[in-house]
C-alpha cells in the first residue's frame, strides 16, 4: 500500500527513476526448506551490484524469482517502477531484463552465430504471417541482426567459432557466449549467475572487460552472483550479502570483507572455511 503511494507521488518520481529493479518480501519454500525468506533488494541504474553468500543461501533462487522462472509464494518485483510480479518470463525479458544461468545453458544444437542471431527480441521473421506476406522486410531485418551479430562476435572474440555448434565450446567459451547473447538484446538489466565459474584466466579477462564495457559505454545495470571474490572486488559496488534466504547487509566490498556477520555466515558453525 505505502509502496504504491510512494511510486505515484510526484516528488518521489525523480528519486525512483534511478532504481531499475526492486524486489520486496520475496518468499519461496521447497518442501520444508525456506530457500528465500522475505528477501528484498534494489538495483540502482548503472550500477554493478554483487550478490554473494554461502552455498545454499538462495542466490540462484532469487534470480529465478525475479525473472519468473519460478513463481514466488509472496513478494513483488518492480522493473522501472512497474509491478512485473505477475508477468510471464518472456514479458519480463521484453521489458529489458535478461539473465544467464549458473550452469551455461547455450542452445547446443545451434551454432554460435545462431545463438547470437536468435537473441534479439520480437523479430519480424519470428511471426508466422510476415514470414509469408512480407518476406522482403523479414530479409532486411535479418540482415540487420546479422550485422549486429558480427559486431558482437568481434567484441566477445567468438568470431573464429561462428559456425561451431555451441555444444562444442569449452566451459569458458559458453559463459562468454551467454554474455554475448545479452549484448544482442536491447536490454537494460542483466543478471549474471556465476559468470566466472569454470572460466580460465585469459577468458576471465575478456569477460571482465566485456562487463565493464557494457556498463560504462552502454549503461547496462548488472546484478552478479559470483563466488570468485576477485571478480566481485574488481567489478561490484555495492555488494549484497545473503544468508539462509535473507538479505544480511549491503555495502561496499571492503566494508563487507571486514564485517563480522559476513565472516560468520560464510564460516557458519562448521568451521570448514
Amino acid at each position: 500500500m505505502a509502496e504504491a503511494a510512494r511510486v505515484q507521488a510526484p516528488s518521489a518520481q525523480s528519486r525512483d527513476a534511478t532504481i531499475v529493479l526492486q524486489a520486496e518480501g520475496l518468499e519461496r519454500s521447497f518442501g520444508g526448506v525456506r530457500a528465500v525468506d522475505s528477501m528484498g533488494f534494489t538495483l540502482r541504474e548503472g550500477s554493478i551490484t554483487g550478490l554473494i553468500g554461502p552455498n545454499g543461501a538462495g542466490k540462484s533462487t532469487v534470480f529465478n524469482l525475479v525473472t519468473g522462472v519460478i513463481k514466488p509464494q509472496a513478494g513483488t518485483v518492480r522493473l522501472f517502477g512497474e509491478d512485473i510480479s505477475r508477468l510471464p518470463t518472456y514479458e519480463r525479458a521484453r521489458r529489458g531484463m535478461i539473465r544467464t544461468f549458473q550452469l551455461s545453458r547455450e542452445f547446443g544444437g545451434l551454432t554460435v552465430l545462431e545463438n547470437l542471431m536468435l537473441s534479439p527480441q520480437q523479430q519480424l521473421g519470428e511471426k508466422l504471417v510476415p514470414l509469408f506476406s512480407a518476406q522482403r522486410r523479414v530479409h532486411e531485418a535479418e540482415q540487420a541482426v546479422y550485422a549486429r551479430a558480427l559486431e558482437v562476435m568481434e567484441i566477445s572474440r567468438l568470431g573464429d567459432l561462428r559456425d561451431e555448434y555451441a555444444s562444442n565450446l569449452s566451459g569458458g567459451q559458453k559463459k562468454l557466449l551467454e554474455l554475448a547473447r545479452t549484448l544482442m538484446i536491447d536490454c537494460s538489466v542483466i543478471l549474471l549467475d556465476e559468470p566466472g565459474a569454470g572460466v580460465n584466466p585469459a577468458l576471465m579477462t575478456t569477460l571482465r572487460e566485456m562487463i565493464l564495457e557494457l556498463n560504462k559505454d552502454h549503461g547496462k545495470t548488472f546484478l552478479i552472483v559470483e563466488h570468485d571474490m576477485d571478480l566481485i572486488a574488481a567489478l561490484c559496488d555495492p555488494v549484497i550479502v545473503m544468508t539462509e534466504g535473507r538479505h544480511l547487509l549491503e555495502a561496499g566490498f571492503d566494508e563487507i570483507r571486514k564485517d563480522k556477520r559476513v565472516i560468520e555466515a560464510y564460516l557458519g558453525g562448521a568451521h570448514d572455511g
Partner: protein, 312 residues
Amino acid sequence: MSAYLISMATYVGFFMILAIALNLQWGMTGMVNFGIAGFYALGAYSSGLLTVKAGWPVGFAMPAAAVVGIAAGALVALLSIRLREDFLAIVTLGFGELIRLIALNEDEITEGPRGLKIDARPFADMFDRTTYPIVYLAMVLAVVALAFFIAERIRRSPMGRSLRAIREDDVVAEVLGKNVLRHRVQVFAIGAGFMGAAGALYAHYVQNISPEVFMPMVAIFIWMSVIVGGAGNNWGLLLGAGIVMAILEGSRFMGDFIDFLDAEKLSAIRVILIGVLLIIILRVRPRGLMPEPRFRYGRSPGGGSSTADAQS
C-alpha cells in the same frame, strides 16, 4: 503393375505429408506427437462426413478437414501447455485413441466398423477411370509440395531458429523473450492441419474409411520416416517416407519367392523389418540418413545474402 505403382506413390504422398507435419512438430520444435493417427482420422472423417452426411461439395469438405485439424491441434497443444515432453506423448496418444474409438462406437454417425462409404471425389467427372489415379496422385503431390514449402519457409526463417531454440531449451528461450507457448501452439496446429489434409486426401482416395485403419501403428511408421530420414531435415523425411513405404509394400512380394511364408507371417515380418531397419540406422547414422543441416549465414564480407544458406 503401373496402376499399382501409382497407388503406391499416392500412399507415399500421404506418408510424406504426415512426416512433414511431424518434423515440424517434433523434428524442429521438439513436441512429441504419438497421436498422428488421430489427426489423420479426424481429417478423413471430417471430409467424409461433410460430403456424405452434410452434402457439402468435396471442394469445400477437404479444406475444411485441414481447418478441423488446425483447431484440434491448437486445442491439444493448449490443453497440454504445462505438460512436458513425456506427458505430451501420453496426451497425444490418448487423443489418437479417443478419435478412433469415437469413430468406432458412434456408428450412427460414422458407420463404425462397417466403414463409411464416400462417393465424392474431386474433379472425378473431368477425367476417365484410367487417367484419374494419375490426376489424384498429382493432387496429392501438390499438397506435399505446399506442405513442404510452408515447412521449409518456416525452417529457414528466424521463426525456425526460435523453434529449434525451444527444442534445445525452452526455459532459456523464454528467458530470452521468446513467446514459447505461442510458437508451440502455432506449430502444433499447423502440423495437425497438414495431418487433417492428408486424412481428407486419403478418405476420398480409398472411398471407404473405417476405424481400424487409424491404429496407433500409423504414428510409428511416420516416426520411422522422420527418424530414418533425419529429424529436422525436410528433404530427409521425404526419403524416409519412401523407404518405409518401400519396405512395407515391398515385403508383400516376399511371399512370391519364399513359399513357406503365409500372409500372417508376412505381416509380422514387415514390422520386424522396419524395426531392424530403425536399429541399423540408429547404430550407423544416429542422426538419420540426411541429418539436420548446419546453418551458415552469408560468409561473403560486405553484404551478399545473409539469409540462412543451409547446407550439410
